[in-house]
Structures are given as structure tokens and as C-alpha cells.
């Protein structure tokens, strides 16, 4: 399964404030762990929306709008693409991430559509994982 893991923007990232040396080092080490685990497919940081553009579609009309965009909560500062076996594995890896910013930060996890995807909540995989774990515990008792 693939997941896009999105670092949400905040005031600092939008202001172009660079991360500290310490954070850069920690993030570097974390990305290394993802590579060593065979999980990392791609990773990029995004420049602030002040350098970005939007194109609005309305019927046949196309309008180009310059950044910055004010709704910081909706913006993203960077993303990873990971290959893991489940959403739970993605969550576990995200928990191990050093906090991308001082103070509060938010990372969003979204599953990538595969060719034969019918939606993750209904895969037999998750149900079977649960059954298997129950069996393991009862077998050992």
C-alpha cells in the first residue's frame, strides 16, 4: 500500500523560517531510518505559498491567482510517499517522526489509490489481521 504523508503548514513555514540545525539533523536521521526500512519512496519540502500560484477553474474560464494564501490550516509544507503494509504501520512511522516544527504540528496520512482499490476500510486484510491476533493470543494461553 502506498500513503502520502503530508506535513501541514504553519505560520513559520509560510514565513519561510528555516528549521534549526538540530531539527534538520533529526529529520535527516528519520528519513534515513525510512530508507533503511525500505519504506521511503519519495520526500520533498515545499516552498512557502508566497512563491506559489493557484489556477481556478470555472466552466471554460481559467484564472491564475498569486500566493500567499491565507488559510494556513489548509496548506501543506512538505510530503512523503511511503510503501507500508497498512494504515496502522503508516501511523506508527509518523509517531516516530521528530516534530516538524517547534510547538504544534500536524501530519496527515492519505492512502494512494492503486489500480484495483475499492477503499481501505473494507479490505479483508484488516479484518483478518484482527482475527489472527486474537488467535495468536488465545493459542499462547
Amino acid at each position: 500500500m502506498r500513503f502520502m504523508v503530508i506535513v501541514k503548514a504553519n505560520k513559520d513555514s509560510e514565513a519561510g523560517v528555516m528549521p534549526s540545525q538540530k531539527l534538520l539533523a533529526e529529520m535527516g536521521k528519520y528519513n534515513e531510518e525510512l530508507v533503511k526500512a525500505g519504506v521511503l519512496l519519495a520526500a520533498e519540502g515545499l516552498q512557502p505559498s508566497s512563491k506559489g500560484k493557484r489556477v481556478k477553474f470555472s466552466g471554460e474560464k481559467r484564472t491564475v491567482i498569486d500566493g500567499p494564501f491565507t488559510e494556513t490550516k489548509e496548506l501543506i509544507a512538505g510530503f512523503w510517499l511511503w510503501q507500508v503494509r497498512s494504515m496502522e504501520e503508516a501511523i506508527e512511522w509518523v509517531k516516530r517522526c521528530p516534530s516538524p516544527f517547534e510547538g504544534e504540528a500536524e501530519i496527515e496520512i492519505r492512502q494512494v489509490f492503486e489500480a484495483d482499490d475499492f477503499g481501505s476500510e473494507f479490505t479483508p486484510e484488516l479484518r483478518e489481521q484482527e482475527e489472527r491476533l486474537r488467535e495468536q493470543v488465545s493459542a499462547k494461553k
Binding site: 500500500m1 533503511k36 526500512a37
Partner: protein, 426 residues
């Protein structure tokens, strides 16, 4: 968090931590089977305690500490039977448990232990099936059931394979170490063989199969990538990763909406995964930058790269592919390689040149029942306008293939030849 959520979280932690856990324990107790048992004991403890206490901040450290305590208990219990175990137990207590922080500065050790586990799981003393099952279990964290479904084999068969494999390793006293010197190349070869075998099982899965099968491709890719970081100076590791990334890049284009396989020449290249192609080309660069003559995986990857970088079959650098197959034929000569080389030669130098090479293969005993040989020969004859000779080739190919759609395709081509025949007799 509900109990179910916690169980799923524990499952995810297990997937991430179990190979390192087992590897670290195997170094200490010097027995892969015992290491796995101890790791499983730690998992059971986690399943019992974490739903109440929550998943710890450092779950890997928790599992390792728990497993080590179990190891000490184990050796104490056996102390009456063997002095050696008692020594190990004491050694454990003083040396190993004295290290409180498993994070700082022990990454190298863990890397080495993982590499040791890889080599032991793929030891040539085990059969290929045993190596495959053991690797998926110890390094992939797959359950017996998952492995069984992936290989279309009953679960007890896999369970037995794994049990016997561990027993063999213990009985033969296979040392828990990374091979060195002249031994390394051969041992690495058996590791790569296992990984590629897993990949091909997944790659050959068809739409109707168990959903576990295609995930084997992902498992193999992950294992390959892990290996590339554990053994970064081995060019064939990067070569294999490159080959798998590029082959996997074609997954979406390989199957029609109705589930039928689509040949490389006919695939919609817009459906090729460019991210995987980029990763494959990067891995190939790593292999090449390590210098030396290219090995078989790097060569196959280079051939795959030629296709991956061509926007259409016509724009493919066939000359380069011909040269690469030539190099491949030098190190792993086989009639299949020759057949592929002939196809490339036909694309590069015209159908007659290809046919000259094919005609040398018609007497080859191993290709006697291989449907692609008459299929290719028929195709080249058609290109040369020799329809009367092409038709029996397609009919022969149809009779040899077990794939229904392929048979129909071959019969259609045979009929077309009859229609274009220059002679009026039948």
C-alpha cells in the same frame, strides 16, 4: 483507543520491529529458532499488557528488554542440563542487560545483526522453498498463513518447512555471521535468488488469485531496498533492486480491464509508474558507479531500463539491448537468453538477422516445448512475407501454450497467414 485499534497498532509495531528483534536475539542466543520463540513471547506479553498500559514510546526497546528477560529465564531453567547455558545466562545478565538505551550508537550493531539474519535465513544448506518461507517469516514478519496463501500451498506445509529449516540450521550449527571473502559472492547470490523468487511469485499473480500474492512484489522490493542499505557496496544488490523497481513499474499496464495479460510491446506506457522507473534508474546508477563488470541482475536491469526510457516500442534503443543480451549471454548463457537476444537483433537489424539466430535454436532440447520459440519464429517469417511457413509455426505455438488467450491469439495469427498465403493450394 479501542482494543481492536491497539491490536492493529501492535501488529504494525511487530511488522516494523520483529526483524531487528529476532536478529538481535539471534546474536545473543546463537539460535535463530530460539530467537524467534523469545520474540514471539515478547509479542504475547505486549498483546496482554499494551491494551491496558498503551503502546510504549519506544516499543522496540520494550520488546527487546522483555525478550531478554525471557532468555535469561530460559537459560536458568536449562542450567541444570548444561553448564554452557548457565554461562550464557550469566553473560546475558551482566553484559546485555547492562545496556539500557537501545537507540544511541547501536544502529551499526543492529544493521550487522539484520545482515546476519538475512544470510542465515537464505543459507544454501536449506532448500529454496525453506529459505523463502523462513525469510518471509523472519525478515518480512508474515504469518504462516499469509505465506501459505501467497504460495498457494497448505498452511501446515509452510509451518513444517519453517520448523525443519530452523532445526537444520541448529543441527548443522550454522554460525550467525556474515560470510566473508570468497564465500561472500556465492552466499549473496543465494540471498538475491530468494528475494527475486519472491518477487516473481508476486509478479506472476493473476487477477483471480489471493490478494496476498501481489503483495509479494512489495515484500520483495522492500527486502531488496533494506538489503541495499545493509550492503551498499554490493553492485548486484542494487542491480536486483533496479530490476524489481522497473518491472514493478509496469504493474498497472500489464493487465487488461478484463484481467488478461498484455505484452510489453502492447502496453500503454502512460500507465507505467514513473516514480518506480526513476527509483530503478537511480538504483542502476548505484550499481554502475560501484564499478567492475556488470553482473546478471545489473544487466537485466539495464535491459529493463532501455524499455523504461523508451516512449514507444519503436523508439527503443534496440542496439543497446542487443549488446546487453550479448553481455548477459557471456555470464549466464542459456537458450532463453539467446531467444531474447534474437528478438532484439530482429528489432535492431531486421527480421532475417533475427531469424538466422532463431534457426540455430530450433534443435535446442530445452526449448522443445517452449511456445515462445515458434511464436517468435512465426512473427519473423510474417515480417519476411513467408506466410506459408509462418502458419504452422503459429499452430505449433498454439498447441504448446497453456494460456487460453495466447492460444486464441496464435490461432488467429495462423488464420491470417492462411488468408495472405501466396499459394492457392491448401
Amino acid at each position: 483507543m479501542t482494543a481492536t485499534d491497539t491490536h492493529r497498532a501492535i501488529d504494525a509495531v511487530w511488522r516494523i520491529e520483529s526483524p531487528r528483534l529476532i536478529a538481535g536475539l539471534a546474536r545473543i542466543v546463537r539460535d535463530v529458532g530460539l530467537a524467534e520463540d523469545l520474540a514471539q513471547d515478547a509479542l504475547v506479553a505486549a498483546l496482554e499488557q499494551w491494551p491496558q498500559s498503551g503502546v510504549p514510546d519506544n516499543p522496540g526497546a520494550w520488546l527487546m528488554a522483555t525478550a531478554k528477560h525471557r532468555a535469561i529465564d530460559h537459560f536458568r531453567r536449562n542450567a541444570r542440563l548444561e553448564r554452557k547455558h548457565e554461562e550464557l545466562g550469566r553473560e546475558l545478565e551482566t553484559k546485555e542487560l547492562a545496556v539500557p538505551d537501545l537507540n544511541a550508537g547501536l544502529d551499526d550493531d543492529i544493521g550487522d545483526d539484520l545482515l546476519r539474519l538475512v544470510f542465515v535465513s537464505c543459507h544454501p544448506i536449506l532448500s529454496t522453498e525453506a529459505r523463502t518461507a523462513l525469510t518471509l517469516r523472519l525478515l518480512g514478519g508474515l504469518t504462516t498463513e499469509e505465506i501459505a496463501r501467497a504460495f498457494l500451498v497448505p498452511e501446515p506445509t509452510i509451518a513444517q518447512r519453517i520448523v525443519r529449516a530452523k532445526r537444520t540450521l541448529a543441527k548443522e550449527r550454522v554460525p550467525f555471521e556474515v560470510p566473508r571473502g570468497p564465500e561472500l559472492a556465492a552466499r549473496l547470490s543465494s540471498v538475491l535468488e530468494v528475494v527475486y523468487l519472491i518477487f516473481n511469485e508476486g509478479y506472476s499473480a493473476t487477477a483471480g488469485d489471493d490478494w496476498m500474492r501481489p503483495t509479494l512484489c512489495e515484500e520483495a522490493l522492500r527486502l531488496g531496498r533494506v538489503l541495499a542499505e545493509l550492503a551498499p557496496r554490493e553492485p548486484e544488490v542494487h542491480g536486483l533492486v533496479a530490476l524489481m523497481e522497473i518491472q514493478a513499474s509496469r504493474s498497472r499496464a500489464r493487465v487488461s480491464p478484463s484481467g488478461e495479460p498484455i505484452l510489453l510491446f502492447d502496453q500503454n506506457r502512460a500507465h507505467w509508474d514513473r516514480l518506480l522507473i526513476r527509483r530503478g534508474l537511480a538504483a542502476l546508477d548505484r550499481a554502475n558507479s560501484l564499478g567492475g563488470a556488470r553482473g546478471p541482475y545489473a544487466l537485466q536491469a539495464a535491459i529493463a531500463a532501455c524499455h523504461a526510457q523508451a516512449l514507444s516500442p519503436e523508439e527503443t534503443d534496440w542496439q543497446r539491448i542487443v549488446a546487453l543480451y550479448g553481455a548477459l549471454a557471456q555470464i549466464t548463457p542459456s537458450p532463453i537468453v539467446e531467444l531474447n537476444r534474437a528478438v532484439a537483433v530482429a528489432m535492431a537489424a531486421g527480421p532475417q538477422a533475427g531469424l538466422d539466430l532463431i534457426d540455430r535454436l530450433t534443435a535446442e532440447p530445452s526449448l522443445e516445448n517452449y511456445h515462445l520459440l515458434p511464436s517468435v519464429r512465426g512473427d519473423l517469417l510474417v515480417k519476411l512475407g513467408r506466410f506459408d511457413e509462418a502458419r504452422p509455426e503459429f499452430e505449433r505455438a498454439a498447441s504448446l501454450t497453456r494460456n487460453v488467450r495466447e492460444r486464441e491469439l496464435m490461432l488467429t495469427r495462423a488464420r491470417e497467414c492462411a488468408g495472405r498465403s501466396t499459394s492457392f493450394t491448401n
